[in-house]
Structure formats: C-alpha cells, structure tokens
C-alpha cells in the first residue's frame, strides 16, 4: 500500500490538470480554434475518477502548469464588447466583418481574433478562387492574399516582446503557408513553451518534423510536459515510427486518459503501420461502439478494411458515417474507399473530390484520389493528386511511392527514382521501396546501384542491424530478389558474387520447398559449374532439377550434356 500522502498528491495533480485543461479548452474556444478546443475538451473528459498511482508525466507537468498570464483579460470594456461582437460574427463565418470590428484592439483575445479572422477570410477566398479540385486555379497558384499583411502585422505585434502563445501560433501558421519552416518552427516552439496547452500549436508543429531525427531534436527544445508527450506520440505515429518506446508512451498516456478515443485511434494507427490489421480493426470497433457518432480517423479505418478486403464491413462503416454526416471529408473518404473496392472508380473519384471540396488539406483524400487515377490509367492526374498530398503532408510515403510509380509509367526514371527515394527515406525497412528503386536503376542501366538497392530490399527490417550484425542470421529471404541480385552480378561480370547469391537462394529450399526461383538458381549454378568444369556438382544440380520436374527440357539436355562430357573426360583420364 502506498503511503497516504501519495494518493493525495496524485489527486491534487489530477485536479490541477483538470483545471488546466478546462482553461485551455476555453481559451482555444474563445479564439475560435475549434479543433484544438475540441481535442482539449475530449481529453479533459477522458480523465479518470482517480489515478492508480502517482504518475511520472503528471508530476512533470504540475510544476509547469503556470503560464498564459494576460490571455484572458481585456484592457477595457469597450474591447470586451467588441470582442463579443466579433466572436459572434466569426461563429457565423462572417470573417471580414469580425476582423473589422476588433481592428486595432490590443487585448490578447481581440487582437488574435482580428488576425485570425483575416486569415480565415483569406483562406475562404482562396478556396473560392481555387474553383474546381485539380482545376487550373487549384493549388499553390492561388494563394491566401492576406498572408503578407498578416506577416507584417504579426511581426510588429510580436516585436513588442509579447510572448502571446496564440499570436506565435498564428505566426507559425502563416509562415508555414509560405513554406518557411525554419522560422515557423521557432515561432511554434516559442508558442508551446510559453503555454504548453496550446494544442493548435502542437498540431502545427508536428507537420514540421520530417524525420525521427527532427522529432528528437525538437524534443530537446521542448519543456518536459504532459503535452510534450502527446506531441511525441503524434509525431512518431505520423512518421510510422513504431516500437516499444512509442507503445510505452501510449500506455502511459492512457493511464491518465483512459477513456480517450484519440489515444485509442493513435494506438490503432500504430498497429496499422506495422500491418497488424486485426488489432487495428479491433480498436476501431471499440471506438465506434464507445463513441458511435465519432467520424475522426474513420477514413483510416476504411483504409484498413480495404486492405483487409472486408467489403461488407466497409459498407457498414460507410453507412454509419453517411448517416452521421454526409458532408464530412472523412465520410466521403470512407464512401470513396467503398466504391473503389467495388471497382467503381469514377464514383470513388467523385467522393474523394467531394472530400477535397470540403477540405482541401484533407490528406487521405489526395492520396486515395491519386490511387484511383492510377487505376484509371490517368497518370497525369494521379501525379497531380499525389503532389498535392505531399504538399499537405510530406510524410505520406504512399503518395511519394505513388508518384514514383506514375513517373515510372511515363518512363521518366530519374523522377521515379527520386520519389522512391523519398518514400524509402520515410520507410527504409520497407522492401517495396527498395525494390522499386532497384528497378529504376536497372532501367537507367546502372546495375551496381540496382544491386545495392536490392540488397537493402532483401534485408528489409533487418537493415537496422546491418550496421552491427556481421552475418545474416538466417531468416527468410526473398528468393526473387536474390536471383535478381545474382543476375545483376553476372551482368557486371562478378561471378563470385553471383554464385554467392545463387547459393543463398538454394539455402532457402528447405524452408520453402521447390519453386521456380530455386529452379532458376539451380539451373544457373549448374551451367556455371559446368563452365568451370566442376562437372560433378553441375550434374548433381541438373539431376535435382530434372528429378523435381522443373525446367525439364533444359535440365534433361544439360544432364545429357554433362554426362557426355564426363564420358569424354573419363577415357582420357
């Protein structure tokens, strides 16, 4: 039993956390940061009655729960009234009007709302001007025209040394829109340091981290805070970085927020990334049961069902989603996936387009739309879709890979190679990426590079141990890849290496049984040995082939040939 002091402490920490989250949700909501507010309130409501034991994360955060002074006050009544008017305009999507009302206000809430409303007005206009999805005006061509003005205003306001977390957040967003990631990073980190409960800033910050290295670097700049752990989890998940430490992270957080659907979704996505589809499906089922009207992340669920080929369940999820809200991008994606599964690609494209009309930054829809265009052999449209997906999120390896495939179809191998490399950088342990790269090298007539890539494809997940391990410790090898490596070595006239890989291929026989690849290897080795006058081995291999009934014609001829040769040799010797 823990001493009576400990539970008290925990309770105390919990109360503080509850209060902090409450305040944070309100602050975000007052600034019309609706998604952040929703997330914070969700976590607030998933707190337990009490916490099993004193929690590491909580201890760290309670000492840092201060911050955000001046975020709630107004300099005078006039500004407060104006703020309320502006907020009400904002709530009914009258952004320009809202911005005008609070123009020139200096109180935190009013000043932020003014700039944010301007930003939103610009975004709205940008969406309107973009017209059709994938039309000529869609994309970077149409910019948010308010950005330069906002940059200037924010710079002057922030130059006053005001560490207003929300202004810093907005500054970061504006800079990100201009693809100025270096400065955006600084702004966002300042923002979360000055007020860690600013979830909106965390959410943007995650888009900057492009590799686990980035995440590790960012972590050093960040405070040791509960929210930092949330960020770490999210960033790792988005980078497909799944391992023990990430699982520990989820578990730890789940202890504090046992009822959090968001955390559950993250867990499901982690399982999805390591291709543990059943587990992932199970978790999503749980979420749907627990929170039947929740649409967040349902598009990912539909992807999982698609991969698992569970058509009827996908149909069910699609029904649920469309009954809840037909005009949510998530819903459209689920339905699009469903039609795609039924090979009704035109319809599916329609739904993905609809999803994008609802939210042009909706990542899954761009990638999935690209896939559909590939199905329809519309390579150029596919490229454009994948590109847009990457614009939204550069960490989407599927889009990079899709781009590579599309360019390969167009026989633009340099392009394809580059995109495969980008995908490979995100998932170096994924053989598929390396095999694709190797194919490109082959087409570019660079066998040496192709060999290297195939080797990595062969190693797959073992790549991490490549630096340390001295020798293959004997797990399953892809015989096709082995053959390819061997043939390439043969091409560059390095027969020793070729033999090595052919032999490796043979070693797989006990596990896999006879197969075409093994037959190829045996055949090749037989010829090789025969040429080197190692006739005994050649005969043995050819005989094995013949006995197994593989490549019968060839092996029979060879056996006969070798026998003849042996016969000729014999008399002489």
């Amino acid at each position: 039993m823990a001493s009576p002091a400990a539970p008290d402490n925990v309770k105390h920490d919990l109360m503080i956390l509850r209060k902090d989250l409450r305040v944070a949700a309100r602050r975000s909501s007052e600034r019309c940061l609706f998604h952040a507010s929703k997330w914070l309130a969700e976590q607030l409501n998933s707190l337990p009655e009490n916490i099993p034991s004193s929690h590491n994360y909580l201890k760290a955060q309670s000492s840092l729960s201060q911050g955000g002074a001046g975020l709630d006050s107004f300099v005078n009544d006039d500004e407060e009234d104006k703020y309320h008017l502006a907020k009400s305009y904002f709530d009914v999507n009258e952004f320009d009007r809202a911005a005008r009302v609070v123009e020139g206000c200096v109180s935190s809430k009013a000043a932020f709302l003014c700039l944010y409303a301007k930003f939103m007005a610009g975004e709205k206009r940008k969406d309107e001007e973009s017209e059709m999805v994938l039309g000529p005006l869609d994309g970077n061509v149409t910019a948010n025209k308010e950005l330069p003005v906002l940059t200037k205003k924010l710079e002057t306001m922030l130059a006053d040394n005001k560490e207003d977390t929300f202004l810093l957040y907005l500054y970061g967003v504006v800079l990100l829109k201009q693809r100025n990631e270096k400065q955006a990073y600084q702004a966002l980190v300042r923002s979360v340091i000055s007020y860690p409960y600013n979830w909106a800033a965390w959410d943007e910050l995650k888009t900057i981290t492009r590799s686990i290295e980035d995440v590790n670097r960012v972590m050093q700049d960040l405070p040791d805070h509960l929210m930092t752990h949330f960020f770490q989890l999210l960033a790792s998940q988005e980078l497909y970085h799944v391992n023990e430490s990430v699982y520990t992270l989820v578990e730890q957080l789940t202890e504090i927020f046992p009822r959090s659907s968001w955390l559950k979704s993250q867990k499901a996505l982690l399982s999805y990334h390591v291709k543990d589809y059943e587990e992932s499906e199970k978790i999503f089922d749980e979420i749907m049961q627990h929170d039947p009207y929740r649409l967040d992340f349902l598009d990912h669920y539909s992807n999982i069902l698609y991969v698992m080929d569970k058509r009827s369940k996908l149909a069910f999820v699609a029904q649920v989603a469309s009954a809840t809200d037909k005009f949510r991008p998530e819903t459209c994606c689920v339905i699009g996936n469903y039609f795609s599964m039924r090979s009704e690609h035109e319809k599916s494209i329609m739904y993905f387009r609809r999803a994008l009309n609802l939210d042009r930054n909706f990542l899954s829809a761009w990638t999935l739309l690209g896939h559909e265009f590939v199905e329809l052999k519309n390579t150029h449209a596919a490229i454009e879709s994948y590109r847009r997906a990457i614009d939204v999120n550069r960490k989407d390896y599927r889009a990079w890979y899709g781009l590579g495939q599309a360019y390969e179809v167009l026989e633009m191998n340099y392009y394809a190679l580059y995109y495969y490399q980008r995908a490979g950088a995100l998932r170096p342990y994924d053989s598929q990426m390396w095999a694709a790269m190797a194919a490109c090298y082959e087409k570019m007539n660079r066998p040496d590079d192709a060999i290297k890539s195939y080797k990595r494809a062969l190693s797959g997940n073992a790549g991490t141990s490549a630096a340390t391990a001295n020798q293959w410790d004997g797990f399953e090898l892809n015989t096709k890849t082995l053959i390819k490596i061997a043939k390439l070595y043969e091409r560059v006239k390095r027969s020793d290496e070729a033999v090595h890989y052919m032999e490796m291929c043979l070693k797989a026989e006990p596990d896999l049984g006879p197969s075409e690849d093994i037959a190829t290897a045996k055949n090749w080795l037989a010829h090789y040995e025969k040429d080197r006058l190692n006739l005994g081995r050649a005969l043995q291999l050819a005989q094995e082939l013949f006995d197994a009934g593989l490549m019968v014609e060839d092996s029979r001829a060879m056996v006969r040939d070798i026998r003849n040769q042996l016969d000729m040799d014999h008399p002489r010797s």
Binding site: N140, V141, Y418, K452, A466, A467, Q471, K493, S495, E497
Partner: protein
C-alpha cells in the same frame, strides 16, 4: 511627390512581357534572371504613371472650383456639359445658336473649328473650356483646337483665366471692402484665391448685406483707390485736373454708375456692366474706367475686343495692369509671339534684381504686376516649348513676389524643378519683403505661415522632417489640420512612401467632403491602382465619365482601369485622349507610355517616355523609365546614361537605386550592385513604406549574392522576399539554383517543385529540376534507419554486403575475381568522387558534366 507612385510593384496587373524563351539551358537561366528584373521594371512603370498624375493634378482645383460655382449661374451651359460625348455634335449646335446675339466675327470660324474638333479626339478640349467660362459664351472662344499637344495654351492658365483670379484690379473684387488695397488687387495670391472660394458659399444668405456694405465701402474707398492708382503717375494727373462745383455733382453720378456697374459685375450681368461701363467712361474719360471696361470685355471671353479696346486707349505702355491685361488677351488668342513683344523678353527687374529689394512699398503694386507678367512670360515660353526659359520666368515671378502662387504652383505641379532645386529655390524666395511690408511680429508670423504652406507643396523625398514641421505648424497654430491641401499633402507623402492604404484612407475622407475636387483624383487613382481595387476604380471612373468628361483626369482614370484589367489597347486610347486634352498632364503621358511598355513595344514606349521627359524636366521618372526600357532592350550603356540622369535629379528614390543596382549587376559590378541594393533597402526602411513594395530589392539582392557565390546569403534574401509577399516561381527557381550550387540537391528539388506548383509549365524550373534530379540520382542514397529507442543509424552499402556475407565469398579463381573487382570498386570510387565534388564547388568548375554550371557561366 510623384516618385512614390511608381514604387509599388503592383501585385496583380503587370502583364509581364515575357522575354522570348531561351533555347538552351544556360540561356534559360539567364533569361530567367533577366526576366525577374524585367518584371520589376514593368511594375514600376505602371505605377509611376499615376504618380505623375498626382503632381500635375493639384493645379486644377482652383479653376475648377470657380467654374463650378459659376456654372450654376449660367444654366445655359449646363446641358452642354452634361451631355455625353456621342451627343457632342448636338451640343455644339446648341452652343452655336445660343451666342448669336453676341454677333461676332468668330462665329463662323468657331463653328468650323468646333465641327472639326468633334471629329477629332480632342473633343474634350473644348468641353473643358466651355464649362470653365463663367460667362457662358463658348462661341467666342477663339481657341483653336489643338490636335497636336504642342501649341496648347497652358491649361491651368486657361482654367483660371476664365475666372477672375488672373484679373488684377481692385474694382472687380469689391466684395471685401475691408481688404487692404494691397491684398485686393493681387489676384494671383493664394490667400485671395481662398477668399474667393469662401465668398462663393455664403453669398446667398447675406448677399444684399454684402452688396450694401460693398457700396458704402466703395464710397469710402474710392479715394484710397485713386491714391493707389496714383502710383501710376499719368493716370492720377488726368484725374486731378478737374476741380469745381459741377465736379462734385459729376462725382456723385460717377459713384452711382460705378456702384451700378459693380453690382452688375457681381451678378455676372456683363451686358449691363459693359453698357454702364461704357457710359461711365464717356463721362469720366478716366483711365481706370477704361481699364475696367477692358476687364469686363475680357471677362466675357471677348479677348480680341479687350485687346482692341486697350489698343484704343493707349494706356498699355503707361499702366502695368493694362499691359498685363493686354498680354493676357493676346495669350488667350494664342498670339504668343505678340504677347511676348508686349511684355518684353525679360523683366526689367532682372537686369538689376537688387533694386527690387530696396524699392519702397509704394512700388509694391507695380511689383505684383511685374511678377504676374513674369508668370505670363513663363506661360508663353512653355507654349513655345522653351521650357528652360519658362522655368526661369516662373522662378523670377515668385522671386519678385512671393504671392505669385500661380507661378509657384506651376513650378511644383509640373515638376519643373528637381527636388534639390526645389529646396534651394524655397530658400531663395524672398519672404522678407513680405515680412517687411506687413511689419513686426505679425509679418514674421505671416511669413512663417506662407513658408509652411509652400513647403507642403515641395518634393516629398527631400527633407521630410521640414515637411513634417510645416504640417505640424499649420495644424497646431492655424486651424488647417483638416484643410484639404494639407491633408492631400499628407496623403501624397504617404503615397510617396508606398503606404497606399493609409494614403487612400485620407484621400477618401477628403472626397467625402468634396467629391469633385480634381486635385485629389490623381492620388486616388494611383492608390486604387496600386492596391488593385478594380471595382472602386471602375465605379469612380464611371462617375467621372458621367459628370466630368471635360477633365483629363477622367480619362486617366478610365485608362488606369483598363490597364488594371489588362486591356492595354483601350487603356492606351484613353490615356492618349487625356494627353490630347491637356498636353502637360503628366499622368496621361506616362500612362500612355506604360501601355506600350506593358506590351513590350519598347521603341514606342521610349518615344512616349521621351516626350514626357521633355515636358517634365524636374522629375526623374521619365528618365528612369527610359532607362528601364533600355535595360529591357539590353542596351545597358544607354540605360545607364538615362538612369544616371535620373540619379542626378533624385538621389532618394529607392527604386531608382534598384534600377542602378541592376545596371551594375548586368555590368558585372556585383559588389557595387549589392551595395546599391542594400542602400536601397535601408532607404526604403527609413521611409517606412509597406515592406511588400520592396520584394524586388530582396530578390535582386539575392541574385547578386548568388552570382557572387554567396549562396547562403542569397537564400536568406529570397526567403525574406517570400515572407513579405513575393512568393513566385522565379524566386523559388533561384533558391533551387542556389541550393544546387551549394550541393544541397534535395533542397533544390524541393524549391523547384514549389516553383512548378506555382507555374506548372515554367521552362526554367523544369529544366533545373531535371538537372537536379539527374544529379540526385548520382548521389548515394543511404537513409537513416531508426532503432527502437529512436536513435538513428545510417548503415552503408558495405554494411549490407557484410550482412549478406559477401565478405566471406570464396574467390575461387583469383584472376577472374581481380578482373571483376576492377569494375565494382570503380563504381564506388566514382560515387565517392561525386560526393566530394558536390560539396566543393571549386572542384566542380572544371567538371564538364553537369550542365548546371553552364547556366551560371553563360549567365554573365
């Protein structure tokens, strides 16, 4: 002043004439870079047109105002004014009919000329004059229709000449009897002009009162007035001769007639005024009455009659006012040579300027006429195209009499002086005599006041602190903070500093109070153009076209609108129309030239800018545009010459510094270019304009750094440019190139993709991307693998060889394997070499392979 207008690189409209796409990759790049600069030129050009507009705009307001008020008194004129252009012929015929009563030899001529006019693009010209004539007799106007701008009369002069302000004598202005004589008879003073305006409004309410007052005061004043006239010795002698009892009776009669006459003039009933004046003259044979009658003739627009009448009196050589009026009548008839003969080639004072100062105040009146005559000389010289002489004449006019605002205004409005000259000139102006004439502290204060007023009119680029002081003084010590001239000066200053939003706000406030104050429109149009407010510009130009077809600014507004929506041919048509209406209207000329520039018709643009440069010698803009055109034509030497001229005129235009930097850049003086760009940025920051305006500086500075191989700095500059709103494919391309040169191929590819997402078919970006991708394909690709604890490892290809047991390969036949070994490691060493080359540019120089290098080489 005008300078600012040009500044802003307009966001939307500039239809950049893309240079012919280069064929080879190096050329691509070169062109690309060039294009960047080129675009900038474009933008720049577009703007200045409107800038100039604002300069020339100011003068109009005075005349306009008067004519507007007068118009109300002559209803006959109104229908004509309001008629749209296509009804012009009809209008004309009405006008012909109307004045028949006033049989005049000119009728047929005028008729002919009018018909002629209507078929020429200069219809606006007549229209402009008609409404301006308060006496409603357009037919009388002998003004020949100037199809070619050259011999056109000075516009301002025209406008105001029709109204009173040019007319000097006391008698016409009796409304304010309490005015001291010295004030009342110099109409060219700014104060006087203000008075007139103020008079016009309250007139209806206490009109009779003022008349009564007027009459009584006339009695009291008449001796005084005569005294004043005494200053002309001959006239006074004549008057003094009579003296008897009957004289008194006669005097009463004269007084009565004079009042009657004055009353008629006040009511603009000139027929009665002529009738009475004629009788009065018969009674008195007084030279003053003769002069007055001539004035009335002049006022009705019967310039020949006034001239002939004055001829008959023989007063011309005796009296300065008569001489002035005589010359003015001649000018009105476009008889410039004769007018110049009347006036003499130069002022007698010129020969001995110091005498001027020493003369007693008794000569003050004389001086005023001398100044006015100097001004007339300036007008004549302008008409004759002798701009230098005109400038001197105007300057002399102001020097002789500070209050000759006409001359001062002409100098400022038409930018006849360079900014430096302006400030020098204001130092030369003799405010002291005025101080002396008023005397004491009051005199001092008045002088300060006037000086401040004048200062607000000066070039905004120089001495902005003095300008601020002047504004502060006028706002605090006098209730002029909201006066439109002051606010307009502020708006112009803001415009000069490229703070368009703020400037627009001020102008709009002014327009609320006084919608058809044409002084405001050039700045207004320029701001709207800069901010791309098409819709507002559309509404405004429609409104102007409906109500004020006679104003050249109307057509400039329409032209600006068409330019904004990229209909250059239409824009050119309207600018041309405006410039025909008023050849000295700067914005029209420059807008006209801009339309050519925007279409890439460099030769035509050059000739149009040259015409503008001839007309506006005091502003560096036309010279700068000429330089820019030559830059675009790749005539770097010529461009340099023109830009140096511009530089001589104005050293404080950041955008000119940009152009000069570009010339340095093209001449391979990269360090100088960098210095110039940096200075430009510094200056721009001091001025405090919208940083968006200075995107081009940052971009060009980036290019200069790039060519100096200072890639890091270059990228910083480009990033800055993007942050302040310059996100375009060219900048992204340049960043890509820099990264490529630095060996950061992957970053380069990112930037180039960005460029292509902005302009999907951009040839330069496509070309560079291909090179970058090829290069990237040559680079080893060894990504990081992450261990469960999050740490990353970067296994090399060798590690994988080891992993797969290649190191254990048993080399059965040494000879064969050694042979094969040569092939494989060859590849490896090749990779290593490439890697080295990628990071150290110096090594790459000699490398024949990467075509990227060709780009940078050929660029220079």
């Amino acid at each position: 002043m005008t300078l600012p207008l040009t500044k802003k690189p307009s966001p939307s409209p500039s239809p950049s004439p893309s240079p012919s796409p280069p064929s080879s990759s190096p050329h691509h790049h070169h062109h690309h870079h060039y294009h960047q600069l080129h675009c900038y030129h474009h933008k720049r050009q577009l703007l200045p047109a409107s800038t100039i507009v604002s300069l020339s705009r100011k003068r109009r307001a005075g005349g306009r105002r008067q004519s507007a008020s007068v118009r109300n008194n002559s209803p006959l004129k109104r229908p004509q004014e309001a008629r749209p252009a296509n009804l012009l012929n009809l209008t004309l015929s009405e006008a012909e009919v109307e004045p028949v009563t006033d049989t005049d030899t000119f009728i047929t001529d005028t008729y002919r000329s009018r018909r002629y006019q209507s078929s020429t693009p200069s219809e606006g010209d007549t229209r402009e004059e008609d409404p301006a004539s308060p006496y409603g007799d357009p037919v009388k106007q002998p003004s020949p229709v100037p199809i070619i701008p050259a011999p056109h009369p000075h516009p301002r002069y025209f406008l105001r000449g029709r109204g009173e302000p040019e007319l000097p004598p006391v008698e016409l202005k009796p409304i304010e009897p309490e005015d001291s004589d010295s004030d009342s008879d110099s109409d060219s003073e700014p104060e006087n002009y203000d008075d007139e305006i103020e008079d016009l409004t309250p007139l209806p309410s206490d009109y009779t009162d003022s008349l009564l007052h007027d009459i009584t005061s006339r009695f009291e004043q008449s001796p005084e007035r005569e005294e004043e006239e005494d200053q002309e010795p001959e006239l006074s002698e004549l008057e003094e001769e009579e003296d008897s009892a009957s004289v008194l009776e006669k005097k009463i009669m004269e007084k009565f007639l004079r009042e009657w006459r004055q009353d008629a003039v006040n009511k603009h009933q000139y027929d009665s005024a002529i009738f009475i004046g004629d009788k009065l003259l018969a009674l008195t044979n007084d030279p003053n009455d003769a002069f007055f009658l001539a004035q009335i003739h002049f006022s009705t627009g019967q310039y020949t009659r006034a001239q002939a009448f004055l001829d008959g009196t023989g007063l011309i050589q005796k009296s300065a006012p008569c001489k002035y009026l005589y010359a003015l009548s001649q000018i009105k008839q476009n008889k410039y040579e004769e007018a110049l003969q009347t006036l003499g080639d130069e002022s007698p004072i010129i020969s001995n300027p110091h005498n001027l100062r020493k003369r007693g105040s008794s000569r003050a009146n004389e001086e005023k006429y001398e100044a006015a005559m100097c001004y007339l000389r300036g007008v004549i010289f302008t008409k004759q195209g002798a701009y230098d002489k005109a400038k001197e004449a105007y300057k002399m006019a102001v020097k002789i009499d500070v209050r000759c605002f006409e001359a001062f205004d002409t100098l400022m409005r038409n930018n006849l002086l360079s900014p430096e000259e302006e400030w020098e000139f204001i130092g030369e102006i003799d405010f002291d005599t005025m101080t002396a004439s008023i005397g004491g502290a009051q005199g001092e204060a008045t002088t300060q006041f006037l000086k401040a007023l004048y200062t607000t009119r000066l070039s905004k680029y120089r001495n902005s602190s003095k300008f601020d002081d002047a504004i502060t003084m006028l706002s605090t010590q006098y209730p002029l903070a909201d006066n439109h001239d002051i606010v307009l000066a502020k708006a112009e200053l803001l415009y000069t500093q490229c703070r368009f939003e703020e400037s627009l706000k001020l102008v709009k406030e002014l327009l609320l109070k006084d919608k058809y104050n044409f002084k405001l429109y050039p700045v207004y149009i320029a701001c709207l153009f800069e901010l791309g407010k098409k819709n507002e510009l559309f509404l405004m130009s429609h409104d102007l076209a409906d109500n004020h077809r006679e104003e050249p600014v109307t057509f400039v507004a329409i032209g600006a609108y068409y330019m904004l929506i990229d209909r250059l041919a239409d824009a050119r048509r309207f600018f041309s129309k405006a410039s025909v209406m008023d050849p000295s209207f700067g914005p029209a000329w420059i807008g006209f030239a801009h339309t050519f520039a925007a279409e890439g018709e460099h030769d035509q643009a050059i000739s149009a800018y040259s015409a503008a440069a001839k007309l506006f010698q005091g502003t560096h803009l036309p010279q700068m545009f000429l330089g820019m055109q030559h830059l675009q034509l790749n005539n770097i030497t010529l461009a340099d010459e023109y830009l140096q001229i511009a530089w001589g005129l104005c050293k404080t235009d950041p955008l000119l510094m940009n152009e000069l930097g570009v010339v340095f850049y093209h001449n391979d003086h990269l360090h100088e270019a960098v210095k110039m760009f940096l200075n430009g940025i510094k200056l721009a920051e001091e001025i405090g304009g919208d940083p968006k305006t200075y995107v081009q500086f940052r971009t060009n500075l980036g290019h200069a750094y790039r060519r100096l191989s200072r890639y890091g700095e270059a990228i910083d500059e480009f990033t800055h440019a993007i942050r302040i709103g310059g996100n375009d494919a060219n900048i992204r391309c340049s960043m890509g190139l820099c990264c490529l040169m630095e060996g950061r191929t992957r970053d380069a590819i990112g930037h180039l993709h960005e460029a292509l997402s902005l302009v999907p078919q951009d040839p330069v970006a496509t070309e560079l991307l291909e090179q970058a991708l090829l290069k990237s394909a040559d680079e080893p690709f060894e990504p990081t693998y992450y261990l469960p604890d999050g740490s990353g490892v970067v296994p090399t290809d060798k590690d994988f060889d080891k992993l797969l047991g290649e190191d254990k390969i048993h080399r059965s036949v040494p000879g064969e394997s050694s042979g094969s070994m040569q092939v494989a490691p060859g590849r490896n060493t090749g990779t290593a070499k490439r890697r080295v080359g990628g990071s150290a540019r110096g090594v790459r120089r000699g490398d024949p392979d990467p075509s990227i290098m060709d780009v940078s080489d050929s660029e220079f």
